[in-house]
């Protein structure tokens, strides 16, 4: 059974701009899926529909069996607890340490502190930032910030990991390390969806690719 499925999904923004037109696809659990396309093709919009950051104007978005397009606002936090989100603009909090940034998803779900701290350190270790746990994110390099963002996304052990342009503004070496990290998550059963316009990792990994062109699947 598909863990994410879109059927005839359209998204029209207020003002009439149609970001997605009649998009249908499905993703199996544990799959590694790349979404490519020129900028403005609707990649980010597609990912936002999965996390209920935006709502579809037509069609059905199913995530882990739940209809996200018709989901009540109160249920959305519980949907998101099952997702790991990595953003283009990272959305890190600069008023606290790297460790506290990673702790946030666990505190929000009311995890016992000791266990949460253990898991946060494990996540930081996985992305190679354990020695920098006391550092303020602003003092980290671009690649490190992106890895911190990934640590925060996986600390809750989500079943779906969603990344929007995770390698943008990183040099090739860093980008490869990040993509390798995502591949290792998909190998342990996490479904990974990555939106990117960078075709290097696609050539390297030969994953399944969805290509968007002006809001439609090519």
């Amino acid at each position: 059974m598909a863990i994410v499925s879109f059927s005839q999904v359209s998204k029209r923004y207020p003002g009439g701009y149609e970001a997605l037109k009649n998009v249908s696809f499905s993703v199996e659990p544990g799959e590694l899926l790349f979404i490519t396309g020129h900028s403005g093709a609707g990649k980010s919009t597609l990912l936002k529909l999965i996390a209920a950051i935006e709502r579809a104007t037509a069609g059905i978005v199913l995530v882990a069996g739940q209809n996200v397009s018709a989901m009540r606002g109160r249920a959305i936090p519980f949907l998101r607890r099952n997702l790991g989100l990595v953003f283009q603009d990272q959305k890190l909090l600069y008023d606290r340490s790297a460790f506290d940034n990673v702790m946030l998803p666990l505190i929000v779900t009311g995890h016992p502190w000791r266990d949460a701290a253990r898991r946060a350190r494990a996540a930081l270790d996985k992305v190679g930032l354990l020695e920098r746990e006391r550092a303020n994110p602003i003092t980290l390099s671009g690649g490190e910030q992106q890895r911190l963002c990934i640590a925060r996304a996986v600390v809750n052990r989500p079943s779906i990991l969603i990344a929007d342009e995770p390698t943008a503004s990183l040099d090739a070496e860093y980008a490869d390390a990040i993509v390798e990290m995502f591949r290792s998550f998909s190998q342990v059963g996490v479904t990974v969806l990555i939106a990117t316009h960078d075709d290097r990792p696609i050539r390297k990994l030969q994953p399944r690719v969805l290509t968007l062109h002006r809001g439609s699947l090519a």
């Binding site: 936090p77 998101r80 959305k91 890190l92 998803p105 009311g110 995890h111």
Partner: protein, 302 residues
Amino acid sequence: MIGWLRHHWFSFTQTARRLAANPLASLLNALAIGVALTLPLGGYVLLVNLQHFAGSAATEAKISVFLAQDATQAEIAEVQTRLRATPGVRSVEFVGRDAALAGLKRTPGVAEVVATLRENPLPDAFVVTLTARDAELAQRLEQQFGKLQKVVHVQADSAWVQRINSLIGFGRTAVLLTAALLAFALVTVTFNTIRLQILTLRTEIEVGKLVGATDSYIRRPFFYLGALQGALGGLAAWAIVELGIVLLNRDLAVLSGLYAVDMRLQLLDSVDGLAVLAFAAGLGWLGAYASVSKHLYQIEPT
């Protein structure tokens, strides 16, 4: 349940840390609220003291009952028994018309006038002392005595009690009005503080929503902030009023010495003080609630 308590404790410590991180602004906010609350609280304290003072300074309330000129000895005795038997009456004193005239003759200035009278125009009278200084009781008995046989006029000496009570009633209304107005001010101040906090913490709110924070989780620290700020304001008001009383008492001590009466003002007792804290905290919570309802939903991750 434990997870829920942990949430609350976490929110609370986070809120306290945020207040402590900005001590000057927090202090000024608490003082602004405190000064606003000082006015009704101070008024209340003065009223309580006035009531207390009036209660301790008052002699017993008395009612004079005047009898008809043609009342016979038997009828007078009958009225006296009736008066004595009435509940709420402590003692009944008979003042005969001759005794009353003699009393008038001793009064300077009136004596000359009284001397010109050919016969005694004064009626026999009773002076009834009541058990309690209670305006309502006095009024009720006044009417009741007026209906007795051969009683032509009843004069309550408790009119001043009524006057003081209505004055206190007036003061209470004034205090309530200022309290209501300034409670509104407190809610407004909190509303604004919370709005600023929400704007400051915009990114944190967005990120919280993205990692699965529920609305109540996000709202909670702001409620705590409003309540805590209100309580601090209440504490400030309490301190200001107590300080004011201490200062006033220093001056009153001199007056007390001159007039040989104890006129010290009572300090606010701890029950009243805690009630003020709870009231201020409640209003802060209310302001936070209004602000959060208005502003938090405008922040959604994009």
